[in-house]
């Protein structure tokens, strides 16, 4: 601030203004109570504070100007006192509460959350999408008879799928009918069709069992999701469209579906279903139109209704989705694995 040459009043007022300015700056810069106290001594000290010094300058002001100068002095004194008080309060508050301050970088109270098994998560997501497409989840027994596991599914006694070495047969039978652990969840579809009339949209899901030596891509117990759609006028375009909707939702984006001819006893025509995943065709499961023999086995009118069915192997999908290279890991139940999902 440039000193102003002029009347003694002007000089006095300039000094007051400088003092107020310096006090405000010093207090604003203060980072603790000691700095505030030092500022108080400097500006408002009873003996040698700058206010005291300024008051002495009042004597040099002509008498006519004294009342105005006095008013200005009192205003400046009050202003400095107010600044001091605010600053003191600021640090008093911090220091009062210093004992309650914490290290906010310390970890929070641990909440251990468990996880749903990745197979369950995959099944639930499939269920959810199929639910939006009108498919209802159904469930049935795992110990099955010949009728539901084979005969009603048009799997003839000569078919290799019925070989004792390819199934887990029970040591006990139901009368003359051998029992086995179901080798597919289509058994449930038969049970539902036996008890309900079309139209029908269901997904059966659960554990199935086939004797396979456990390795990175096989396990003798695994999960299947199988869909069944029976309504008048159903054709393969309905099948492809439903699978495309499913694939687009499950994999994200606008996914295309490709059919390759295949063979399953319970569907005809039968196809392998490929979906575009990561820029290439990936085999996702089998599908087809429900074989007329299956419709006949459950007492449906083959001329009135047609249907389609499809099956997905859950482990294979989950393994690919989560980057699991050995499907046996799904059944090791190591929490270091489970907690990652």
């Amino acid at each position: 601030m440039t000193p102003v040459a002029g009347t003694p009043l002007d000089t006095f007022r300039a000094e007051l203004e400088r003092l107020r300015h310096d006090a405000a700056e010093a207090l604003a810069a203060a980072t603790n109570a000691a700095a505030v106290e030092a500022a108080r001594v400097e500006f408002a000290g009873a003996r040698s504070g700058r206010l005291k010094a300024a008051q002495k300058l009042l004597g040099a002001v002509p008498a006519a100007d004294k009342p105005a100068a006095g008013r200005d002095f009192n205003d400046t004194k009050a202003s400095v006192a107010a600044l001091l008080e605010t600053a003191q309060e600021r640090f008093a508050r911090v220091e009062d509460q210093a004992d309650d301050a914490i290290d906010v970088t310390l970890p929070g109270e641990a909440v251990t959350l468990g996880r749903f098994h990745p197979i369950t998560q995959t099944i639930r997501q499939i269920q959810e999408i199929m639910g939006q497409l009108g498919f209802e989840c159904v469930d049935g027994p795992e110990v099955e008879d010949q009728w539901h596991n084979f005969e009603a599914l048009a799997i003839s006694p000569e078919h290799p799928a019925r070989d004792p070495l390819d199934n887990f047969y029970l040591a006990v039978a139901r009368g003359a009918d051998p029992l086995l652990l179901r080798s597919q969840t289509s058994t449930v579809q038969i049970r539902v069709m036996e008890s309900r009339d079309p139209p029908l949209r269901i997904v059966s899901l659960g554990r199935v069992y086939r004797p396979d030596t456990a390795d990175a891509t096989h396990y003798p117990m695994f999960h299947q999701v199988e869909g069944l759609f029976v309504e008048p006028g159903t054709n393969m375009a309905h099948l492809k469209s439903v699978l495309r909707l499913f694939a687009s939702r499950f994999l994200g984006g606008d996914v295309h579906v490709r059919f390759r001819p295949s063979f399953f006893p319970f569907t005809e025509p039968s196809v392998e279903v490929d979906m575009e995943w990561g820029g290439r065709w990936v085999e996702m499961g089998g599908a087809g139109m429900v074989d007329p023999a299956v419709l006949a086995a459950v007492g449906y009118d083959q001329d009135a209704v047609t249907g389609f069915a499809f099956g997905l192997g859950v482990e294979r999908i989950a393994a690919r989705r989560y980057g699991v290279e050995d499907i046996r890991d799904f059944y090791r139940n190591d929490v270091r694995f489970l907690r990652q999902f």
């Binding site: 887990f168 040591a171 139901r174 490709r258």
Partner: protein, 682 residues
Amino acid sequence: MIISSSWLADYVQVPASRDELVERLAMSGLNHEATTTVGDDAAIELEVTSNRPDCLGHIGVAREAAVLFERPLAVPDPRPLEGPEDAARRVAVLIESPEICPYYSARVIRGVRIGPSPTWLVDRLRTVGVASVNNVVDVTNYVMLESGQPLHAFDLANLRGSRIVVRRAIAGEPFTAINHRVYALDDRMGVIADAERPVALAGVMGGAESEISTATVDVLIESAQFAPLPVRAAARGLALASGSSYRFERGPDPAMVDWASRRAAALILELAGGVLDRGTVVAGELACRPAEIALDPRRVSDVLGADVSPQRQRKILVALGFQPADERGLRWRGPSWRRDCTREIDLVEEIVRIEGYERVREDVAVAARPVALSAREIAVRRTGEVLVGRGFCEAMTRSVVDDRLASMESPWGGAPPLVISPPLIRGADRLRRSLLPSLLEARADNAAVGNTDADLFEIARAYLPRSAGAAIDPGSLEEPRLASFVGGGGFNRAKGLADAVIARLGVGTTATVMYRPLTLEGFAFGRAAEIVLVTAGVESGRVGIVGEIAAATLERFSLVGPLAAAELRLDRLDFAVGRQPRLARPAEFPAIERDINLVVAERITWGELDRAIRAAAGDLLETCRVGDVWRDANRLGPGRKSLVVSLTLRSRAGTLTGDEAGRIVDAVVAECGRRCDATLRR
């Protein structure tokens, strides 16, 4: 099936690259596995579905290619020159078991020179992964790989009695196969025998004693039909699968039986010399006249969801070898090699797979239909959510367990576990009756790798036979869905979790949950309970169990306690999940809290006191909680304990007065005194 690229070209000229060929084959039903270069040739590995035995030979695959690329198929017509002598004078054929072998044919070539095969034959066999043996054996393999019809060549000199007898094996009968190992046969299998002993396992493998050797001079060529099941029984039962058994399990083209025999005879004459005896010695009947199949051309569009003109349909069927049985193309007869095609839908599939599935639209609308989750599914999800929220990870353990796990007492009682064959994995052949042993094992597996805090749950079925013995009645096998968990901590933690699950299932809206002491193998004595529900005074069966794992069990599984577990029958606890909650408006008037300190005998349970308090306090009792329980023989007397009980009393009609509260407390104390001999400690 491995196809040699150059071999295939003998029958069809494909006007496209090999990549395009395999792509077209894949898109019409022969999935491409891999192609590898072998010398100047390429081995194309195709996956052939079990309904297409015709494609287990080069000619069948060539036929598919010919149809796809609309090129002619050239199949040779072998006419081997016959000598003057009658084959029937050399050998007799008898089929004793037509259910094993419906048809058998034999040709005889005498005076052959056994030696190495020419290079072209060795190379082709090598391309498809077959080692060369000698000229005669190589020819039989070659013709099988060409036609799909398995053949076998016997050294006629070693067929005793000059007889071929096709019969069922006798149980325990020994047989030495060409691999020089001895097998004990059973009566599900078929054999080719001479006058004295088996010389071949029917449809599977020849015998060592009649095999072609350098000393062989006269050869009998077998070309026959064998039924699938006996062949499979032998191939699987003796682990002797062969190219022959693989084909007979699927059913080769009956029209190829004689063709293959002629083809082999012609090639042997060419490569090994000798004289072919006149005629074929046959037994049985060759059934190969296919039935007529009706086809409504509209069915094709109905299935495909796209139009295929009747002309196009006709063209495809004719190219595939089907013959129209009427002028309009409404009735067809299938070719001998497609015995899988017997119905209209089979013809439809043939047409659409050649037409191509890329014609199927993928954008048709499907009408919306709302669905709801089943009660079972809701119960499963809510249970999981409670446990996951409390730190439990969901495990998936095997439904089939070993004897060690199966032998633990099941909370659900019943007969011994059901046994399966073969075992799921080594040693595991019993269907579990509880999930808890599996979860204990999973916890131990975790501990073994340093995860000492593995709290695990699983929701899965158990298998509860109600009766023992060789036969079970319908309905006597229960498969309840169980929710089980094993976690660190004592009884109270597990019980609290069980309570939370049961509460989340909404059971409390209609039933009261009751815990009763339970003694069960695996659980610490006096530290386990069964859970039952009481509805309108009627008790349910057991719906769950909860308890602390016994020290001996911990030791057995190499586990460290304290560890507690519970198992709940979700099938008996899911009845209320569909119930909509009904709001109970929070009370407007203030509550009064009263603590009372009751002293009772040690044997009195909290459950008994709780019932007495509720009975006495009536509707004005909002909550009743037990606090400290303490024992002090000097101040309370021996065998007595003190419980601090906090009562919250509230009326919905108005503010309770101190006097009213006091009267309720007096009534509570009196009732506890009456029912439980409780005294008030002041």
